[in-house]
């Protein structure tokens, strides 16, 4: 039986994203400075408060600092300057989108 072939161009574009290696991880959170980032979506702040409670029970010497995005509206984002500040103040960050 004969076959018919149809060749079509690929519609999918390539991305121009440079690959990024994840940051190194501390072995544990003893004495860690933990950032808690909330983007203002409902529920996220309550969730992060509880993360701090639970991690604080396991690592009593860890410290916790809350951050919110500096720009945006009902969903708020971190600016590059703000990211620099968070990086100076924190060893690790827990973030939530509410989703």
């Amino acid at each position: 039986m004969s076959t018919v072939k149809v060749e079509v161009a690929n519609p999918v574009a390539e991305s121009v994203i440079p690959k990024l290696e994840p940051a190194a991880r501390p072995g544990d959170l003893a004495g860690a400075r933990v950032g808690l980032y909330w983007n203002f979506k409902p529920g996220g702040n309550v969730g992060l408060d509880h993360v701090a409670t639970l991690l604080g029970e396991r690592f009593p010497n860890a410290t916790f600092t809350h951050f919110q995005g500096a720009v945006g509206a009902s969903v708020r984002h971190v600016t590059p300057k703000q990211a620099d500040e968070i990086a100076q103040q924190c060893d690790v960050v827990v973030g939530t989108t509410g989703d």
């Binding site: 039986m1 076959t3 018919v4 072939k5 149809v6 060749e7 079509v8 161009a9 690929n10 519609p11 999918v12 574009a13 390539e14 991305s15 994203i17 690959k19 990024l20 290696e21 994840p22 940051a23 190194a24 501390p26 072995g27 959170l29 950032g35 203002f40 979506k41 409902p42 529920g43 996220g44 309550v46 969730g47 509880h50 993360v51 639970l54 991690l55 396991r58 919110q68 720009v71 945006g72 509206a73 009902s74 969903v75 708020r76 984002h77 971190v78 703000q82 990211a83 620099d84 990086a87 924190c90 060893d91 690790v92 960050v93 827990v94 973030g95 939530t96 989108t97 509410g98 989703d99």
Partner: protein, 452 residues
């Protein structure tokens, strides 16, 4: 989180199971596949505080592991594989079977919008490319959220698939320029959990050159709107295959919207008593342009009785006072902003004014600016009612000068930030008194169409 990882800070995102594919695709699009997350059984929104705490209880071990253990190099791969082959070949016992195989594979790979695609053969793509003087490898822009490289050729391929003719390509190219402009901040619109869809608005001689419908049934369906439908569809396919906005992976629209298949209108400039919309937006008279504005939805504005503009405005404004669309009173919590671009967006609404309605206003000496100003004055809601849909802390952060409103819940506030946020476009058939009102997400972007 990517920005923090880049700065040497270990992160973990709390992500519900429903959004895992979105997380993976986003992580890949940011160049960090396998970006750690801790899975939650449900989203945190619309949960009581106790329910939120239960969700966190179930994820805390994963939080700790993600913060203290280097993630796997490859991580979990995204649900959509971005193939890099230059072409695909499909077989069948005849052409029909081969085309059916093509459509099935495109659906399986998620490169399709769900409707049968026109095969983008080399011959058809070359024919499409003849519709523009631009070189095939010209880069029109980068499309969020995937930051895909939108070359003229890739846009042409998706336009063929959508059923476009070569004369439509310059319009699609201009629409992609709008989408790639930082002012559009496409990422937030493309990945939203809401139904916002891009509405293309075409002005100038391009409407006739492309065979666009400006009158009856302009937004489709049917043969009279063939060009409108194909151009709108091409934009969606480009969003998917160039911007990598894939349903349930990066497009997180809760229910979806038929507007996402295609939404392309052409202003009825010939029946408008005023300056065309694009000229108001700064395009030279006689030139052609595309404006793209995202809209949450469209509603009928029927009014067969108002013979004076004041009465008409009071009726039309009721459409603008709909509370349960995100853009209503959104200005209270600030502006949509992407820190990468530094943009600050205002929300816009669009009144697609039927020519008969336009005549009511024009005969009384009103301009489009008068209509916009009147809608701004009339479309107001009590603060206590409007603020119920918004986070109090967000309102207080964005507008501390308005703290007095918490003691004055009956004070009326405008639904949009200023009169210029109401866009008026004359559209549709001159034979009936039925306009349409579209609730916007963010604001419009306009680009001139290049034919040569």
């Amino acid at each position: 989180m990517k920005e923090l990882e880049k700065r040497g800070v270990a992160t973990v995102a709390l992500v519900s199971d429903d959004f895992i594919d979105d997380h993976r695709r986003t992580a890949e699009s940011f160049g960090i596949p396998g970006l750690p997350c801790a899975r939650l059984a449900a989203p945190l929104v619309s949960q009581t505080p106790d329910q939120v705490r239960d969700l966190i209880d179930g994820a805390i071990d994963a939080v700790l592991e993600a913060l203290t253990t280097v993630p796997a190099a490859d991580g979990d791969s995204s649900a959509v594989r971005l193939r890099t082959d230059p072409s695909f070949t499909f077989e069948g016992t005849d052409w029909l079977e081969a085309l059916q195989e093509m459509n099935e594979r495109m659906l399986e790979w998620q490169y399709s919008d769900g409707l049968p695609l026109v095969p983008a053969t080399r011959a058809l793509v070359d024919k499409m490319l003849a519709g523009t003087p631009r070189a095939p490898d010209d880069v029109v822009g980068l499309l969020e959220p995937g930051l895909g490289v939108a070359t003229v050729e890739k846009i042409a391929i998706n336009s063929v698939m959508a059923g476009c003719q070569p004369a439509h390509l310059p319009i699609v190219l201009a629409a992609i320029e709008c989408m790639a402009d930082p002012e559009m901040d496409l990422r937030e619109k493309a990945i939203s959990t809401g139904p916002a869809a891009p509405m293309i608005m075409v002005n100038g001689p391009a409407r006739q050159r492309a065979g666009l419908n400006t009158g009856i049934c302009m937004l489709g369906p049917g043969a009279p709107s063939r060009a409108n439908t194909a151009i709108g569809r091409a934009l969606r396919l480009c969003m998917m295959n160039i911007g990598h906005t894939y349903p349930a992976v990066s497009d997180m629209d809760t229910i979806g919207s038929p507007n996402k298949y295609s939404m392309c209108l052409a202003e009825n400039e010939e029946r408008s008593p005023w300056t065309p919309y694009h000229v108001q937006r700064g395009i030279e008279t006689g030139r052609s342009s595309v404006t793209v504005g995202f809209v949450y939805g469209l509603v009928d504005v029927t009014d067969y009785h108002s013979l004076d503009p004041e009465t008409a405005i009071r009726k039309f404004a009721t459409a603008a006072k709909y509370l349960c669309v995100t853009s209503t009173a959104y200005w209270l919590v600030g502006h949509r902003s992407n820190p990468q671009y530094g943009n600050q967006e205002q929300e816009h609404h669009y009144l697609l004014l039927a020519p008969q309605h336009a005549r009511v206003f024009a005969d009384a000496g009103w301009t489009q600016a008068d209509i916009s100003a009147a809608l701004f004055r009339e479309a107001r809601l009590p603060f206590g009612f409007a603020s119920k849909r918004l986070e109090e802390s967000a309102i207080r952060t964005a507008h501390p000068e308005l703290d007095w409103l918490w003691d004055s819940p009956d004070a009326l506030i405008p639904v949009l930030e200023d009169p210029g946020c109401f866009d008026v476009i004359v559209a549709g058939s001159p034979g009936s008194n039925r306009s349409s009102f579209a609730w916007g997400m963010g604001g419009p972007v306009t680009k001139e169409i290049r034919w040569d």
